[in-house]
Every structure is written in structure tokens, then in C-alpha cells.
């Protein structure tokens, strides 16, 4: 029975759990763990420049690799800086384990220096958390944390470790069976409900597959493709479900919802059956629930029981892992032929394509054009993260993904500052792939300090800054719905982003004309050892369409600017 220091045990558990990389920043109360890390060859530590960057890098790493992401922070301000990253992982169901230092057990609750009740603060945004007061519970608490983070509906788990616990001497013991009587994730669907689902599917005349992040989390792309093939059914994918079914395929209708395609929304609105796979009827997709998909029955497959019947009543609820349930369901389904419904959807797609116009050259470049060029130059195979805002929606609309874990975006939380650290995490997970971050000029400045991390680690992340001098999405709402009162959205004072990148040791280029876009993208692909910022001058007036206002219905969809339509109509 080996005796070892608590902090050494922490690292040994991480290695045992298959962790290869951790992202973090040290501080007083976590020094013992960092001290043990000093000669610990089995783990790569990536020193970030803000704990939010560390948490989001761990999250991007997890999304791109399918493994559990791990981040470290110290007590107090280090821990509070993790909050946005943890909330993000919670909202999008990403497996992350956050390990924070904490003041000595005797000092807890006395407003000690750099003390923060991080377990209290993160209670509502963690799947699970523990403050380890007893050193002898440290090892199993960490093992539990990984199990909970990675199974069922994945999510963030926080383990808070007081420094005296890290410094205690404990006995190592091998993993036994975990004893979690309150946690029993369900993998297999109940066969009775699976059979009932097959019956309902058989009877459908206008079926649609509505595929979300849960299908990606369950690694169910093969089963989704097989289902779509067998039923000849068309597929809509949410922002988080991109790539679970190839968006380049004829049967893919792209993304539905507030800024989804007209035809994806049409499909949901007029279908008679939605086969929902790992999606949760998020309000960005549904708009007003009372007007959403009024004629559709629902087969709802999800790992989280609580999502079923939360926003929409399920005709057939199937609780379970999406991949496993589809494997149970597929043998029960006979092939279905394409019919008039699919022809209707093809026609709808032809009649209502995603469209944009090129602005006059002096205004700037059409942002949609940049994404299209990126898609072509990378053949749709790059790893693409986005930040949050208009550029995120254009990226979702125009970068068609063919495989899961390729598109990383903050969906549920919508956290600006996500894209760059997530891309850093993804580049570490996928060292041989080109990784792009599509950012806005507002968003990139929220975690721009991670340029240091990218340079030191030699990560050739390519950041495409859609620079229009505005907080674009908010500006769009103010333009369309608040009578052009642009309060607080004009981003004066932007730096020269290329110079900022170079100041850290990266490289970059400013692109002002549409003709130069493609060449700039190709040039960025030749950079292999440092981050690259491409500062695109984007037309400030560009708006994201289609648009269904929050709480709106498909009937109210705006395919283009409603004011010009009103003038001409």
C-alpha cells in the first residue's frame, strides 16, 4: 500500500482516468498540486492566461476529442474566473472536471485570503461537486467526478481541494466499484417504448429527424446516418448537432430555429412526426412553443429524463443513450420510400435558399462570403470554433459539417470569449488538423490574452475576425426592433488586431477586399507553428437572415430585411 501526498494522488488519478492534458493557472492554495506536477511526465500542463481561458480550453478539448476535459485553478479569484466556463459546459452538456485549490480546512468560512465558496457559487451550474474535507476521501471523490462527468448526460463536475488536504499523506488504493446510489444513468431504452416508437415511425407520412448535441455526445453519427437512410427521412440539426449527419448530403436541411434555414423551419412546422435525438426543444429552435410543429407527433430519445415532456409533450418518450437506443430501434424499422413529402422539402429548399448580397466594396466584405470561402478552401473538413453573435450564425449557416466534433460553439450559454480558447483546446486535441476560430471584433477581445498560450504552445490556430466595429447581433436587434437606437454597441477603440497578434509572437494579415479573402485563408493554412489572426473588414450593415424573433412563430419568419420587403410589397 503506497503512501503518497494528496497532490500526487490527484495526478495519479488523472492519469488512471486517461487524462493527458490539463489546462490551468496556479495560485497559492493549489501550489501543492502544481508542485507535484513539476516532474510529472505523464501529464501535459497548458498554462493559460485567464482561468476562463483554461476552462473553455478544457471544454473545447472535450468537445473535439470526446474525452473529459480537465482544468485547474486556485482558490478565490481563480475559482470564480472558472464560472463562465463551467456554466458553458453545463448548458451544452460537455464533460469537464474542474479542480480548484481551496484554503486550509481550518480557514474555511472565515473570509480568509483568496477564499471563495466555489462549490456554493457553482451549485446550479455543475452536474455535481464536492469539497474534499477528508484526505482519505480524495481519491474516490476524484474517480466519482470523472464517472459523473462522462456518463449519462455529460456535464461539468467540480472538486474543491483545501491545501492541507493536498499536503496530507494518504494511502493509494486501486479503483473498486463506485457507490453512487443516487446516480444510475440509463443506457438502454425500455424495449416496450422502443417498439412503440417503431410503430409510430412506421405510421408517419411526413417524418423529420431533429438531431441535437446529444447525438454528438453519444457518438451516434453512424446510427443517425443509418436511420436517415433506412427511412429516407430528411434531417435538421441544431447548432450543437452539426455534423451528426452530414450537412452536405441531400437529406440534410441544415439548422432550424431563430436563424435557421427557411426550409428546416418549414420541415419542422409541417411534419407529422419529429424523431428527436439528443435535443431539447431549446427556445432558439422552437420560438413560441404553442405554435411550434403543430401537427407533429414526437418520438423523443434522450439520456436525460427531465428533458422529456419539459418543453414539448412526447408521444413516445425513450430515455437512454442515443447510440444504444438507435441500435435497438433500427432492427425494428422497415425501409421507407421517399415520397411527396421529401419532394416538397426539396422544392422548398430550392425556392427559399440561404441568400445574401455583396455590399459595395467600400462598405466591406460580405461575412457570409468569408465562411463560404473557408468551407471551400478547407473542403469542409477543418475543425471550426466560433465565438458568439452574428458571425456565429453565419458560420452555422454556411460551414457545412460532415462529421461530428468538428464544429465547436457556445450554444446554450452563448458566451462571448468562447471561440479562441476553445480552438486552443481543440488544436491540442487534434494536433494534425487545421483549426479555425470564427470570431467577432467584440468577442475576440474577451480572451485575447490566450494569444500568449497559443504562441508558447506553438498552436497554429487561425482566428478569422469578422471586424465590423460593432457588437453585431445586438446592433441587429436594435436596428430591427429598437428603432436604430444603437446603445452601447459601437466598438470604437478596437486595436490593430494583426499588431496585437504579432506583439505576442503570432502572425496575421488584414483583409479589406473580397478578392483577397481566399488567398488569405490559403496563406493561413501555411502557418504551422503559431497563431494567425486574419482581420477581415466586414460590412457593418450585414444582418443575419432568416430570422424568427424570440418567442415568434414560423409564420412570422423574415427571410430578408422586413423593412425593405414592406417597401416593395
Amino acid at each position: 500500500m503506497t503512501q503518497l501526498r494528496g497532490s500526487e494522488a490527484v495526478l495519479r488519478v488523472l492519469t488512471e482516468q486517461g487524462v493527458e492534458v490539463v489546462f490551468g493557472i496556479p495560485g497559492g492554495q493549489i501550489i501543492p498540486i502544481y508542485d507535484s506536477l513539476w516532474n510529472y511526465r505523464e501529464l501535459r500542463h497548458v498554462l493559460c492566461r485567464h482561468e476562463q481561458g483554461a476552462a473553455l480550453a478544457a471544454e473545447g478539448y472535450a468537445r473535439a476529442s470526446g474525452k473529459v476535459g480537465v482544468c485547474f485553478a486556485t482558490s478565490g479569484p481563480g475559482a470564480t474566473n472558472l464560472v463562465t466556463g463551467i456554466a458553458n459546459a453545463m448548458m451544452d452538456s460537455i464533460p469537464v472536471v474542474a479542480i480548484t485549490g481551496q484554503v486550509r480546512t481550518a480557514a474555511i468560512g472565515r473570509d480568509s485570503f483568496q477564499e471563495a465558496d466555489v462549490t456554493g457559487i457553482t451549485l446550479p451550474i455543475t452536474k455535481h461537486s464536492r469539497l474534499v474535507r477528508d484526505p482519505h476521501e480524495l481519491i474516490d471523490t476524484l474517480r466519482e467526478a470523472f464517472y459523473v462527468a462522462a456518463t449519462g448526460r455529460p456535464g461539468p463536475v467540480l472538486v474543491d481541494i483545501p491545501s492541507d488536504v493536498s499536503l496530507s499523506t494518504i494511502r493509494w488504493h486501486e479503483p473498486g466499484t463506485l457507490d453512487l446510489p443516487g446516480y444510475r444513468p440509463i443506457r438502454e431504452g425500455n424495449m416496450r417504448t422502443v417498439k412503440r416508437a417503431a410503430e409510430v415511425i412506421r405510421a408517419a407520412k411526413r417524418p423529420i429527424l431533429y438531431v441535437g448535441g446529444g447525438a454528438v455526445g453519444a457518438n451516434a453519427a453512424d446510427e443517425v446516418r443509418e436511420l436517415a437512410r433506412r427511412l429516407n427521412a430528411y434531417v435538421v440539426n441544431t447548432l450543437l448537432g452539426k455534423g451528426a449527419y452530414p450537412e452536405t448530403d441531400r437529406q440534410s436541411l441544415g439548422m432550424p430555429g431563430m436563424h435557421g434555414t427557411y426550409y428546416a423551419n418549414h420541415a419542422l412546422h409541417h411534419c407529422d412526426l419529429m424523431i428527436v435525438l439528443g435535443a431539447r426543444f431549446d427556445d432558439r429552435v422552437t420560438g413560441d412553443l404553442t405554435g411550434f410543429a403543430p401537427e407533429a407527433k414526437v418520438v423523443h430519445v434522450d439520456a436525460d429524463r427531465a428533458e422529456i415532456n419539459k418543453n414539448r409533450e412526447a408521444t413516445v418518450p425513450v430515455v437512454g443513450d442515443v447510440k444504444t437506443v438507435l441500435q435497438q430501434l433500427l432492427p425494428l424499422l422497415e425501409p421507407r420510400r421517399r415520397g411527396p413529402w421529401e419532394d416538397e422539402l426539396d422544392a422548398c429548399r430550392e425556392a427559399h435558399p440561404l441568400a445574401y448580397t455583396h455590399p459595395p466594396a467600400e462598405q466591406g466584405i460580405a461575412p457570409q462570403y468569408i465562411v463560404e470561402q473557408l468551407f471551400e478552401v478547407t473542403r469542409g473538413e477543418a475543425v471550426v470554433s466560433t465565438d458568439v453573435g452574428q458571425h456565429q450564425m453565419w458560420a452555422a449557416q454556411h460551414y457545412k459539417c460532415s462529421r461530428p466534433r468538428q464544429f465547436l460553439s457556445s450554444g446554450g450559454l452563448g458566451a462571448m470569449g468562447y471561440g479562441f480558447p476553445a480552438a486552443i483546446g481543440a488544436q491540442i486535441a487534434c494536433p494534425d488538423q487545421p483549426v479555425f476560430d470564427i470570431a467577432g471584433d467584440g468577442s475576440i477581445q474577451m480572451n485575447i490574452q490566450e494569444l500568449a498560450t497559443a504562441c508558447i504552445e506553438r498552436l497554429p490556430v487561425k482566428v478569422l475576425i469578422f471586424n465590423n466595429g460593432w457588437l453585431g447581433m445586438v446592433r441587429q436587434w436594435q436596428e430591427l426592433l429598437y428603432e436604430e437606437r444603437y446603445s452601447g454597441t459601437s466598438l470604437v477603440g478596437n486595436p490593430d488586431f494583426v499588431k496585437v497578434s504579432e506583439a505576442y509572437g503570432g502572425t496575421g494579415r488584414r483583409v479589406e477586399r473580397a478578392e483577397d479573402v481566399r488567398e488569405a485563408l490559403e496563406w493561413s493554412l501555411t502557418i504551422t507553428d503559431r497563431p494567425c489572426f486574419l482581420d477581415f473588414r466586414v460590412a457593418p450593415e450585414a444582418n443575419v437572415f432568416p430570422m424568427i424573433k424570440a418567442g415568434g412563430r414560423f409564420d412570422d419568419i423574415w427571410e430578408s430585411d422586413p423593412r425593405t420587403a414592406a417597401q416593395s410589397g
Binding site: T119, G120, L131, P181, G182, R305
Partner: protein, 171 residues
């Protein structure tokens, strides 16, 4: 309509906060909450302190879907082992009340006989006041308190509701 939910939870620090926080942030209307150590025959419990029972009375505001969501959201918490809505099942519900009542000498005898009727005890006797201690169903306590109002209730405190299912079935 008010529902009585009995939950079995792992007795670890923070569980109470997590459950209370869940109710607060989803806007569920909690009327009473009681928590303490418990035993459950189904689970090994060498220390006798492994589990707690949290009994919560919540108002569903006329929407039965709320109870379904509450139960499911509670089950999502790793430390929550079991959730049962006992609003309609065969249970023994109890609350405890302490009521400080104005009790001048002239009224004291009446008060005492009232207590006898309700099988309540006197927990404190003072020159001007007594403290009545009563245990019973929520309805019984409501009735007693409303009768005590006639004498002048100076202070009143009630515990949350606890329940156990009748017979051999687990709560």
C-alpha cells in the same frame, strides 16, 4: 394544490443547499421543508448517518406538469437517491408546533383543557404566558392555532412536515 414530496438523499454537506437552490431557481413554490438523518432498509448504512430525508411541501399552482419536472430535476442530482410524491398515498404526516400564548390566571384552566382535547403539552409556564407544544397532522395544528388565537398568540413556530408511509412499504 400542495404536494408532499419525501426524498432520500446522501447526507453530505451541500445537499440541502443544492436541493433548495434547485427549487429556488426554477421558481417552484416551497411551503415547508424538513430535513434530518433517516434510515432506509434498502441501503447499507454502517454509520447510521449515511442518509437524510428531506420532506418538502410544494405548491404546483394548478399545473400537474410541474410535479413531473420537480421529480425529474431532483433525480438528476447525484446525491438524491429517491423521490416520492406522497400527496395521495397512505401516509402518517406530522408537524410540530410551539405556540406562546397569553395566559392570565383566569384563562389558564380553559387553555389547559383545550390542550388536553388536542393532546398537546405545556412546554413552559410563566406568569403571563404559556408555551403550548403540539404534534399532529397539519390540519390538527391549524385548528389548534386558530383556537389559540382567541387567547392571544404572541409567538408561533412550526417545523416542516415529515411523513412515513404506513405498513411495510418504503417511503
Amino acid at each position: 394544490m400542495k404536494h408532499t414530496i419525501a426524498t432520500l438523499v446522501i447526507n453530505k454537506p451541500g445537499v440541502l443547499a443544492r436541493v433548495a437552490g434547485l427549487f429556488a431557481r426554477r421558481g417552484y413554490n416551497v411551503q415547508s421543508l424538513s430535513v434530518n438523518i433517516t434510515r432506509d432498509a434498502k441501503f447499507a448504512d454502517p454509520s447510521g448517518e449515511r442518509f437524510s430525508r428531506m420532506t418538502i411541501v410544494v405548491d404546483d399552482e394548478g399545473n400537474p406538469r410541474i410535479m413531473e419536472q420537480i421529480e425529474k430535476q431532483l433525480y438528476k442530482l447525484v446525491d438524491v437517491v429517491k423521490v416520492s410524491d406522497h400527496t395521495r398515498t397512505n401516509i402518517v404526516p406530522r408537524e410540530l408546533a410551539l405556540v406562546k400564548v397569553r395566559a392570565p390566571a383566569a384563562k389558564r384552566a380553559e387553555l389547559l383543557s383545550l390542550c388536553t382535547i388536542f393532546r398537546a403539552d405545556i412546554a413552559d409556564v410563566g406568569e403571563e404566558t404559556v408555551i403550548v407544544q403540539a404534534v399532529g397532522t397539519p390540519d390538527k395544528l391549524d385548528a389548534l392555532v386558530s383556537l389559540l388565537e382567541d387567547y392571544g398568540v404572541l409567538e408561533l413556530v412550526r417545523t416542516g412536515r415529515v411523513v412515513l408511509v404506513r405498513g411495510a412499504e418504503a417511503t
